[in-house]
Subunit: 278 residues, 2 copies
């Protein structure tokens, strides 16, 4: 999907909500366990309930992998079920030397190889340029590079003070700066955690045009209002992810209705913030 | 597997060779393509040929993932086939926020969840402590953390000059130092690329007792002699990986014999270097 097509979807749905499909067989409502493929059945109902309010879906690959072959089958069915106009993100945090990243790119982007046809994949930056470029070689596909994550451990390395050509910076700032040599805002987005919303204004100075994927609103405590205030640009430039707060809004038979209510609530708040740019 | 058990295997086989199973359906000998599962058939013959000379096997997960569900099935069969006394490494470069890393740990360590029972998994450090700890919670399982990788892109971030408590360092040095707060040399190893062998002596000062997984000998140009001279400690402390130079030594029907010859050659060289410590 192109950047423009994504922006048009955002305007159409008045939403920049991404629903995270962190589907854990141990957490889905018990009545679904009788279904032939409980994980897919859960996702199917969540997608039906939230598609009017979401522009993107983000399966968290760990949750499918952990179930072995069966999990990959559930993921395949889920991907086929997501409406074509939605942006799809494989939240996989991959990244390896060039010839290996090429294979990871095939995994998520090349339908003929793996059966998957995601629009984007999340990538870890530690191994540098040649670990990222093979993903960028696919047309109209996206790398979403980890910059500043929402977890406590982000303090261990991402905030380290570094020096580049005599200038003091933090590591995550250099990830943002350096990676712009590898791809443009038409193929590269960044993960910036909502729990670090105060950093968004400063990040926007480094990457004014790029889309940011913002996890951490909801269960992890980030504020949608702050994220939108500091992170939005003229083409929206935000995909805000919510996983647990939507998909596990209820653990009963009403889980899909409750997910719909939660997604709608977020969408309505987003509509308000979007009015600043349209 | 415990550190002591791994050391005993090294003494027994007089080898610290790890064979990388980067099995690409596009590169295996054509006569195997008629087999029911060509990737497994290739791995089976490579394992038979190299097991006397190798203490570890390292499937590169990207190569299996890229084939979708079929690839995971080949990987399952391969894992069941590897002799029990060999150390097994899922080269997966995973790492995510705590609740997600927990799922990745289940994927590779929890037989009841995914069917896999690897001894170790490679993990990327960028997201910090809580992205690594869930893997360390499994008894007798190992995290192999990326420190200094063998690719060109390692220059982008790993060598950045940082400052920690007023002291100048490089990022990879801080990864080595900081991560020692999370696990001991009984559960934590590090990836150090053979193409950076000159750094090994200095790395040994930071992590004297830890095992190092060293890729990059062979196709990537690293020298086994230098790696062994600067990297070996009293308990060997090295697993040197070779993938392409062994498994693709021939692309003909003699691929397994040629792989055996290459593995044996490496083992004999290793036997020489091991004589320094036993």
């Amino acid at each position: 999907m192109t950047k423009q097509a994504l922006f048009e979807q955002i305007l159409l749905k008045k939403s920049y909500l991404c629903v995270g499909l962190d589907t854990d067989i141990k957490k889905i409502p018990p009545h679904l366990l009788q279904a032939k493929d409980p994980v897919f059945e859960f996702n199917r109902q969540i997608i039906d309930a939230t598609a009017p309010y979401a522009v993107a879906y983000k399966p968290n690959i760990a949750f499918y992998e952990a179930m072995g072959v069966k999990g990959w089958e559930s993921l395949q069915k889920t991907m086929k079920y997501i409406p074509k106009e939605c942006f799809t993100i494989a939240d996989a945090k991959r990244g390896d030397i060039g010839n290996t990243s090429e294979l990871y790119a095939r995994t998520f982007f090349d339908k003929n190889s793996s059966g998957f046809d995601f629009d984007a994949v999340t990538v870890a930056p530690y191994m540098g340029r040649d670990s990222v470029q093979p993903f960028l070689a696919f047309e109209n596909k996206w790398v979403i590079l980890l910059a500043l994550t929402s977890n406590v451990g982000s303090n261990d390395f991402q905030h380290l003070k570094i020096e580049v050509e005599g200038e003091p910076k933090k590591l995550y700032q250099q990830v943002l700066t350096k990676s712009q040599e590898w791809g443009s805002s038409e193929s590269l987005m960044y993960v910036v955690g909502a729990t670090q919303a105060d950093k968004l204004a400063e990040i926007r100075e480094i990457v004014p045009d790029h889309f940011l994927l913002v996890p951490g609103v909801g269960a992890q405590g980030g504020s949608l209002e702050e994220v939108s205030r500091y992170g939005m640009n003229k083409k929206c430039g935000l995909l805000v992810n919510s996983s647990r707060a939507i998909i596990y809004a209820s653990s009963g038979e009403d889980f899909a209705e409750r997910a719909e209510e939660e997604a709608k609530k977020v969408q309505q708040e987003m509509e308000k913030y979007l009015s600043a740019i349209v």
